[in-house]
Symmetry: C2
Subunit: 337 residues, 2 copies
C-alpha cells in the first residue's frame, strides 16, 4: 500500500479502510473500535463522570522519553487523573499530512496502544483525516477521555478547600518535558539526551486515594509550567503561595540547559508530574507515598499556602531575595505538546 | 489583542486566557467549561452511552449552507443520533494556524454555540493549540460527543436485523454537501450557490423513536457517500441491496454540477441526511414521518434488501441496465469534512 500517507487515505472509502487495517488494527484492538460503527457503545456509569479533550501538535513527534502518541494518551489520562477520576475510555482523532511516513505512524499507533493498555484505558473510538502536503505537519492527534470520578476526590480540581498552612508538593523534577523538546530542536542536540518526563500519573494518584480528605488540589503542570498552574489557582484568593526556590527539584541537565538558553524551568511544561496541595498534617505522608512510585522518587514540598500576599505567588530565591511569580506571557516554546 | 492568531495564543499562559476570554467565552457559556479545570464533571448516566470523535478539516471553512463550526457540531451529533443515542455533551479541540483571522474564529465559535444550543448539546470541554504559519491551514476542529442510548435503538448502527424485503430509505437529496464544497473551490463558483445539507438529523430521528423495532439500521452517509455506506453494510452478508437509480433524490443543481465535473452524487458526502433500512410494514410510515421535518421533505425509498446478489449492491439504472456499486476508491474530493 505504499510507504506514506496519500490524500485517498482520508477519503472514507477503500483506502481509509486499508490504512485502518494495516496500520491501526494491529494495535487498536478494542471490539467497540473494530465494529467501525459511528459511535462506540459504553456501559454507563452511575455517579459522576470526568470528560476532557486535548489536541497534541508537539514538534518533533519523537523526542527522548516519548513520542506524540505516548504524549497524547498520557496527557488526557493525566487530566482525568488529576481531576480525581479513574480513566476508562478514550477517543482518538488523527489529522495526517499527505506524505507522512506510514512507518512513523505505525510506531506512534504502537506507542499509543501500549500506553493505553498499561493504564487500563480502552481506545474505543477513532477518526482519521488527511490534509495535503504543506497544510499540516506530519501528524496532529486529539485525544478525548472519559473517567469515573472517585469518591472523595470530586472537588480536587477546584482547590476550594485550600487554606493557609497547606503544603505545596510536586511529584518530581520540573520542566523536563519542555527542556527535552527544546533540546531536540537544537541544531546540535546535547550528546546525553534530556529525557522528557512524559508518563502516566496514575500510579502516583493510586497511592493517594485514601488520603482524599487531606488533598485540597491537584493539577498536572503542562503548558505554562508549574508557575502558571500556581498563579491560576492563587488568583483572586484570600491566600497566597510562598515558594522556596532551593526546594524546587530540577534535573541537572535541565537546569544547565535553562541557564544556557535563558529559560526558566518553572515555566517549562511537565508531562508526567502532579502539583498537589495537601493538609499540613498529611503533607509528609503524601510525599512518602509519591516516593514509592518510580515517577515520584523526587517528590518534595516546594512551598506553603500563606495568609500573606493574598492572590500572589512569591518565591524566596536561593540568594535570599523574593521574586513575584507571574503567569507565563508570550510563548517561549511553541508546540510543546 | 490584535486581529489574528499568534503563536503565544497557544502557550497555555496569559495569551491563551485572553483568546478564550475574548473569542470563545461570549459563546461557550457552559459553567463546566468556564470552570477551566482539567476535566468537565458530568452527571453519569445509567444504561448505555454512545461515544464518538471526528476531526474536521474542511476546505473552504465557509461554504454555502454552513461553516466548519456548524459542520463539526452537526457531524458528531449526527454520529450519535444515528447510533440511536440522544446527544448530551460535547468536547471541542481547535488547532489554529498562526495568522488565522480572529474575526473568522469568532464567526465559527458563534456558529458552533448556536448549533449546539439548538440541539440541546452542552459544550463542556475544550482545548486550543496553535501551529506556526504553513504548518496547518486556518483551523482544524475535533469534536467528541457523548450521548445516552435510547431504548430499542441499541442495535441500530449494526444492522444485525436486516432481512430481504426491507426498504432502503434516504431522508433527502444525496451529495449536496460534497457538491457544495466542490463548487466552492471552482475558480468561478456557480452564480446560484449549491447549498450544503449540513444540518442536525435529530429532528428526523426524534420522529422515529417509537418505530424502533421496525428500524434495522441507520447511518449518515458522510465521507464516501451513500454508495460507500450501503457497500459497507452489505459486505459479507447473505443478502444484497437493489437500488433504483430513478428513485434516488438528487438536487437539480447537484446533478448538473456532477455531470459537468464527472462526479457521481452517490459517492459525494451528505452532512444532514440519514440512510435508514426499515421493515416492509413500516417503511412508508418512516418516510411519512421524515417528511414532516423540513430536512426530510425529500425522503423516499431508494431500494430494497434482496436475497439475490448476496453481499452486493446492484443498481437498476435509469436506462434499464444494472450497475454494480462498489465502495469509493481514491479520493475525488479531499477535505470534504
Amino acid at each position: 500500500m505504499g510507504t506514506s500517507i496519500l490524500l485517498a487515505h482520508g477519503s472514507g472509502g477503500g483506502k481509509t479502510r486499508e490504512l485502518i487495517r494495516s496500520v491501526f488494527r494491529p494495535f487498536f484492538t478494542d471490539s467497540r473500535l473494530i465494529a467501525a460503527t459511528d459511535s462506540a457503545i459504553l456501559d454507563g456509569a452511575a455517579g459522576q463522570l470526568a470528560f476532557t479533550t486535548d489536541a497534541f501538535v508537539v514538534d518533533p513527534i519523537f523526542f527522548p522519553g516519548g513520542d506524540i502518541g505516548k504524549l497524547a494518551i498520557c496527557g488526557t489520562l493525566n487530566d482525568l487523573a488529576v481531576s480525581g477520576a479513574k480513566p476508562l475510555w478514550m477517543a482518538v482523532s488523527f489529522i495526517l499530512e499527505e506524505g507522512f511516513e506510514l512507518e512513523d505512524l505505525t510506531t506512534i499507533a504502537r506507542s499509543m496502544a501500549a500506553t493505553a493498555n498499561a493504564n487500563n484505558v480502552a481506545l474505543v473510538a477513532a477518526d482519521t483525516k488527511v490534509v495535503p502536503r504543506g497544510k499540516g505537519d506530519k501528524v496532529f492527534i486529539t485525544t478525548t477521555g472519559i473517567g469515573r470520578l472517585l469518591t472523595g476526590l470530586e472537588q480536587v480540581s477546584y482547590g476550594a478547600g485550600i487554606r493557609p498552612g497547606d503544603k505545596v508538593i510536586v511529584s518530581g523534577t520540573v520542566g523536563d518535558h519542555g527542556a527535552s523538546i527544546f533540546a531536540s530542536r537544537l541544531e546540535q542536540p546535547p550528546a546525553t539526551p534530556v529525557l522528557s518526563d512524559c508518563a502516566s500519573v496514575l500510579p502516583i494518584m493510586g497511592g493517594l486515594c485514601d488520603l482524599a480528605e487531606h488533598i485540597r488540589f491537584m493539577r498536572d503542570p503542562t503548558r505554562g509550567g508549574t508557575a502558571t498552574v500556581l498563579c491560576e489557582i492563587t488568583e483572586k484568593q484570600n491566600w497566597g503561595i510562598r515558594l522556596i526556590e532551593r526546594s524546587i527539584p530540577v534535573d541537572g541537565k535541565v537546569s544547565g540547559l535553562c541557564r544556557l538558553a535563558g529559560l526558566d524551568p518553572l515555566y517549562l511544561a511537565c508531562e508526567g508530574r502532579v502539583i498537589c496541595i495537601a493538609s499540613p498534617e498529611k503533607g509528609e505522608e503524601v510525599i512518602r507515598r509519591m516516593k514509592t512510585c518510580p515517577a515520584g522518587l523526587n517528590a518534595c514540598e516546594i512551598g506553603t499556602i500563606t495568609s500573606e500576599n493574598p492572590g500572589r505567588v512569591v518565591m524566596e530565591t536561593t540568594i535570599g531575595g523574593t521574586r513575584l511569580i507571574t503567569m507565563l506571557s508570550g510563548d517561549p516554546l511553541p508546540r510543546i505538546c
